[in-house]
């Protein structure tokens, strides 16, 4: 018999099992000699306790009684002293985000194209030239008045 079965028997004896399970355990005890013997022993033990130990009545409800104990336990526990972070920890706390930011800056500088730099500065022999730009297609037209000959 395993531990679980023993606990089931104990619960059965204490009347703590639901109805369906109670019937199951009863049937099991009826056909299992070991279970019958253990149940008998548990009954005898319970009887012995009943007869020897006075029943103590608490002046308050069970929940209130245990909550008082809980409060006492919590009151007695000393608060954890605040730990002052070491210099290394403080430095590391700053270094990690700063380092990550620095890497992002480096990556962006290296990978992203620079914006329009000089662009469209003209030194021409033609003062009547004009420029038209289509940003979507990335096309710039510069029209000059220089005619082509035949």
């Amino acid at each position: 018999m395993n531990d679980e079965q023993q606990l089931k028997l104990q619960a059965f004896l204490d009347g703590e099992l639901p109805e369906a399970e109670t019937r199951e355990i009863s049937a099991w005890v009826a056909r299992d000699a070991e279970a019958t013997a253990l149940l008998k022993e548990l009954r005898q033990t319970r009887q012995a306790f009943k007869s020897t130990e006075a029943n103590v009545q608490l002046p308050e409800s069970r929940e209130f009684y245990w909550s008082k104990i809980q409060r006492e336990i919590e009151r007695d526990l000393p608060a954890a002293p605040p730990q002052r972070p070491s210099l290394f920890h403080r430095f590391r706390r700053v270094l990690v985000p700063v380092g990550a930011f620095a890497v992002l800056v480096v990556i962006s500088i290296l990978t992203f194209p620079r914006g329009n730099g000089i662009d469209s500065e003209m030194a021409v022999a033609d003062s009547e030239a004009f420029t038209y730009q289509d940003y979507d297609s990335g096309t710039t037209l510069v029209w000059v008045s220089y005619p082509a000959e035949r």
Partner: protein
Amino acid sequence: MRFRIGSSVSLLAAVASLLLVLSAAAAQARDFKFEAQLIWATMSESSPDPQHKPVDEKTRERLAKVNLKWKNYFLVRKVDASVPEKGAKEVVLSDKCKISIRQVDEENFEVSLFGQGKSVLKRMQNISKGEMLVLGGNAPDSTSWFVAVRRTE
């Protein structure tokens, strides 16, 4: 946890250093690739020169984007050019027309147009990969000429 954070910082620093070194190395050995086209634009259906073929569709679309009104664009000559870093490259498009492309910095180039040996235009232009600079002017019989310079790499 303590060990992991410390090693992450070291790793980040190592990655940053590696990126810097790689970019420096890459920047040193670079040529800038261009494609230069001499184009003749007309309202006629065909060119008097049978060797002239219509420009490719992409070029045609880009010329339309800058509001050019011609019906047909014919390719007179196409030349691929490689501009060395911080250097210049001359591209001859015809016996009367040539251009020079000089790299100024990463994205900026000076494009000079010469007609019959004389300087016609000098323009500083930001040209990223895939972008196109089109120089154009009038030609006889209500036609036009264009020099389309596109950066291919």
